[in-house]
Amino acid sequence: MFRPYLHYISLFYGIAVLSSQGGILMAWKFLKVLKIEQERCCEVILFTEADSYKVHALRDTGNCLTDPLSGEGVHVLDCNFYHQVMKEAMEFRYIPYRSVHGSGIMKIFRIRKMCVEINEKEWIESPLIGVSESPISGEEDYQLILNCKVQML
């Protein structure tokens, strides 16, 4: 009775097997990407004189920006976050910087302290924070790019 349809059933069965394999592969890759993303990002709390702010930070060793005056590393904060959320008047100064988008001067200031949660909480006193000239994350996944020196701690 099913003979005439055997052809289609076997075809359907073949497609189902292939697509489930592909589905499992995609799910596996997706989980791997999620894990990579988790390891790339961490939570950071910034403490200023007036308030504290919790941000997602990218652990990107590409940020090697250093203050020429003090030799300290500078963590780069998203300009939108600074202007829309922080809104505090800070005593700032400028330092020159270079990036893939070009070069220029970046406004930097010191905050009271910050707490970086990678494997455990790491406290950093009086860190330097720089404000980016353009948004650092297109999808607003993170608001801060940690300096490469932090990841050596």
Partner: protein, 246 residues
């Protein structure tokens, strides 16, 4: 993104992207950010004149950034001259930078003066104004000033170690409560008894001056020994009344 390189009739190269890009697409954001170990040197005269000409045009923003960048050394140099004022160098540089920005905003090239000369006056003025403003509050210390930080990030503030004797607050409250009880008990006494207590312990006197038993006796026209007996009786009675109210 696929990379294809082809030279006609020579070779073809095609780079297949990794599975992640194929499956999930999206842009990979690159974050190389670097800086220099030293601040950039001042501009050459000709270059500076050219950049100054850009001010007020559509390249105004770019001109300002270049001028600020190449005059940062000047700000640091001037700020370091005020290092002995007790204000941190970084704070002085921050103030000086504001002076530099003001100088660039108000600079007039037609005045035949170099930008560095004009900017150095503005930077110095800004720092001096800041020092004058701050000299009044120099000796002040904030009660919330952090003195030390432990490994967990907990701060020890000045307000944590400032204090008084333990019972200062309680003592005043207790005194107030006892005073109330005493006056309530006093009101239970007769007129003469109340008068004797007030005279003996100076309750009515503005300076709280107490009178001796002799003085009270003379005022009331009775003997001093009678005042002594009355006083003992009054104290006993007051004690009983106060115990009742507690």
């Amino acid at each position: 993104m696929m990379v294809k390189v082809a030279v006609p009739e020579k070779f073809k190269l095609r780079i297949v992207p990794n599975v992640r890009t194929v499956l999930f697409g999206g842009q990979q954001e690159i974050h190389y950010i670097g800086g220099s170990e030293v601040l950039p040197p001042p501009l050459e005269n000709e270059k500076e004149r050219e950049v100054v000409r850009w001010l007020g045009t559509d390249r105004d923003e770019k001109a300002r950034k270049i001028l600020i960048e190449h005059n940062l050394r000047l700000v640091v140099y001037i700020a370091k001259k005020f290092d002995n004022t007790g204000v941190g160098v970084e704070d002085l540089i921050s103030i000086g930078t504001i002076g530099l920005i003001k100088a660039i905003n108000t600079f007039n090239p037609s005045k035949k003066i170099k930008l560095a000369t004009y900017a150095s006056r503005c930077i110095e003025n800004e720092i001096l104004m800041y020092l004058r403003r701050n000299s009044k509050t120099k000796m002040e210390v904030s009660i919330d000033e952090p003195l030390n930080v432990d490994w967990d990030g907990n701060e020890l503030l000045l307000s944590d170690i400032l204090g008084t004797e333990e019972d200062t607050i309680y003592r005043d409250l207790e005194d107030e409560a006892e005073r109330k009880i005493l006056f309530r008990a006093l009101n239970k006494l007769s007129g003469r008894e109340k008068l004797i207590v007030r005279m003996r312990f100076g309750l009515d006197h503005p300076e709280g001056k107490e009178m001796t038993q002799k003085e009270v006796a003379d005022q009331l026209g009775i003997s001093q020994s009678y005042i002594s007996r009355l006083e003992k009786k009054i104290m006993h009675r007051l004690r009983m009344e106060m115990v009742r109210y507690e």
